[in-house]
């Protein structure tokens, strides 16, 4: 089981700078996710690691061994493709045995290993089926089994679950994590789905336009998105832009002021006075105040707004509130039955909103 090191990787396609000076390390036995929107360079990076693209600059190390000049078949890396890429003219047995036959493994051992790996993905007895006779979820599991059967040092996955329906995706996510932990295999997982990355990763590397924007544990990224892009990408949905006006409580907190005179209190994160920031908030952060007299007069972050949209979702209702020139989305319990155009008063708890850098 190995450690992967990507050092200063760069790859251009003509004028397009697909990957720019990307560096990261994957720890043995852990899952590292490359997360980002379409075109951010995550798949190109993965393909460079696999050997299907030649980087223009930078090196890739597997176990301190430089693999950059080595062709893909000699890298010992298992890969799961987005559309599975199972060979249609071979049975499941044929698909799984192929890699072992190349390594000149004796036949009875091949049969044994195939049986074992099929057991791991809960598809015992499927040796003689053809891919076309199986469902999407089953094909996906065979694709995983094929990448694992020759016991590679590391596993690369290119959005393996994106072709499955939502429910199956969640089940397979869990199965993948179980399998990965059981085998203790190192994995690099490419996805555009932030929820998926959150669930399966030990470490997330967020890419945008070829560059690393932030990397860290899921918890760190979600509680401290470095800037507006990261915050927006991990589904923080409302932003209010402004500038740092002053510090309070011995620089532990900041006061943010917007162009249209809103005053927002929150926590400091190494900001400077006058710095442009974005106050970010998730969907369930707003606390509606229905009886003004009950609230503590000293509470900060009390605002008034108007309901401009409401979507009924069963147990909850999605509201869009207009406050000055800002729109805030929130998801509230159905008991708050506000009408369109109704004026509402609400509280934004300073500890629940996040101040991020503008860029």
């Amino acid at each position: 089981m190995a450690i992967l090191k990507v050092d200063n990787l760069s790859k251009n396609f003509g004028k397009v700078k697909a990957v720019q000076e990307v560096s990261f390390e994957a720890t043995e036995g852990r899952v590292l996710s490359l997360l980002g929107p379409s075109g951010c360079g995550k798949t190109t990076t993965l393909r460079c690691i696999a050997g299907f693209e030649n980087p223009d600059r930078g090196e890739i190390y597997l176990d301190d061994r430089k693999i950059t000049p080595i062709s893909p078949e000699k890298r010992g890396i298992g890969m799961v493709f987005q559309n599975y890429a199972l060979w249609p003219h071979m049975t499941v047995y044929g698909n799984l045995a192929f890699g072992l036959q190349i390594r000149k493994v004796p036949k009875d051992e091949i049969t044994k290993k195939i049986k074992k790996v099929l057991g791991m993905v809960q598809l015992e007895g499927y040796e003689n089926r053809y891919p076309r006779q199986m469902s999407g979820g089953q094909q996906q599991r065979i694709a995983m089994a094929r990448a694992l059967v020759f016991e590679p040092e590391i596993m690369l996955l290119d959005e393996p679950l994106s072709n499955l329906d939502a429910q199956l995706r969640e089940e397979m996510r869990f199965e993948f994590t179980e399998l990965q932990k059981k085998l203790g295999i190192t994995a690099v997982y490419v996805t555009h789905d932030q929820a998926e990355a959150l669930v399966i990763s030990d470490k997330i590397v967020i890419l945008n336009q070829g560059k690393i924007v932030q990397s860290g544990t899921p918890k760190k990224i979600y509680s401290n998105p470095k800037n507006k892009f990261v915050a927006g990408f991990i589904a923080v949905t409302s932003f209010i832009d402004g500038r740092i006006d002053s510090f309070t409580e011995e620089k532990k907190k900041v006061i943010v002021k917007t162009d249209d005179g809103l005053v927002i209190h929150s926590f400091n994160n190494s900001f400077d006075i006058g710095q442009k920031v974005s106050v970010a908030m998730r969907m369930n952060v707003i606390k509606f105040i229905q009886d003004e007299n009950k609230s503590d007069k000293n509470t900060v972050n009390i605002f008034k707004g108007k309901i401009i949209q409401s979507s009924y979702l069963g147990n909850t209702i999605d509201y869009k509130i207009r406050m000055g020139k800002w729109e805030i989305r929130t998801n509230a319990e159905a008991k708050y039955d506000f009408k369109l155009g109704e004026e509402v008063t609400f509280h934004l708890p300073p500890e629940d909103i996040i101040v991020t850098r503008e860029s």
Partner: protein, 288 residues
Amino acid sequence: MNKKGVFKDIIMKKSIFKKTIEIVIFVVFLFFLFTPLFSTIIWSVALVWYWPHTLPQKVGFDYWLQALGITKSLTLGAVNVVPAFLLSLGIAIIVVIITMAIAIPAGYALAKLKIPALLKGMILILFLLPRAFPQQPVFVNLMLMFNKIGLTGTVSGVILVHLVVGLVFAVWITASTFSSIPPELEEAARSVGASRLKAFLKVTLPLSAPGLIASSVFVFLTSMDEFTGTFFVGLPFVTTLPMTLYSASGSNIQFASVTAILLLIPSIFFMIVIQKFLKAEHLGGMGG
């Protein structure tokens, strides 16, 4: 009420009208397709047939026997065509082997290399150019050139002509076949340890088999039927079946009909074989 009834009548009549037109077109199509064939078949067994009789007065397999060399031919123009048939067959087989040996790597390279579409189009047009001109002037010139290097009247010369003709289509078809194989299938093979060659042999080639077989059959039939180039380059020593047909069609219609049917046999044979072979057994395996 009345209006509704009349309207309904018109609609009913309209679809009967439409159906009739469709049937008529279909029958005309069948007529043009099959009448020449039927006529040829009847002519091949007609011994005596003079106008205005609709069917031959006397039928028999005499010309068939003469053509196949079973009986000696006494009529002018009727010769034993078996040698010509075997020569055509032999040339066609050699042409297929050489053509595919060139077209498979060439098609693969064209499919995999990232050549701009404009350049690819230009290359293909370049190959097709000879076919765009009237065939006789093209091949007369070819004959003059081959004469200088001593290739006229030789089987090798004829094979070369067939190669040039067949290669264009073969490369086009193989390139298109290889392009249609998703590159991930080869990459998956390489990711489990297969070299480029092994991935090609074990994954790409089997999956391309239908297209490659179609290409081979096309080249084979093109070679069997090739006339103009073979005529100019092959004379006077090389006689293929189409050339026999040509000489016979002037003098002896019955004999020409027999030869024509003999030429049809490979085509029909391959149609049956391909129809059974190309059942979509090898599709599927890509998720999504």
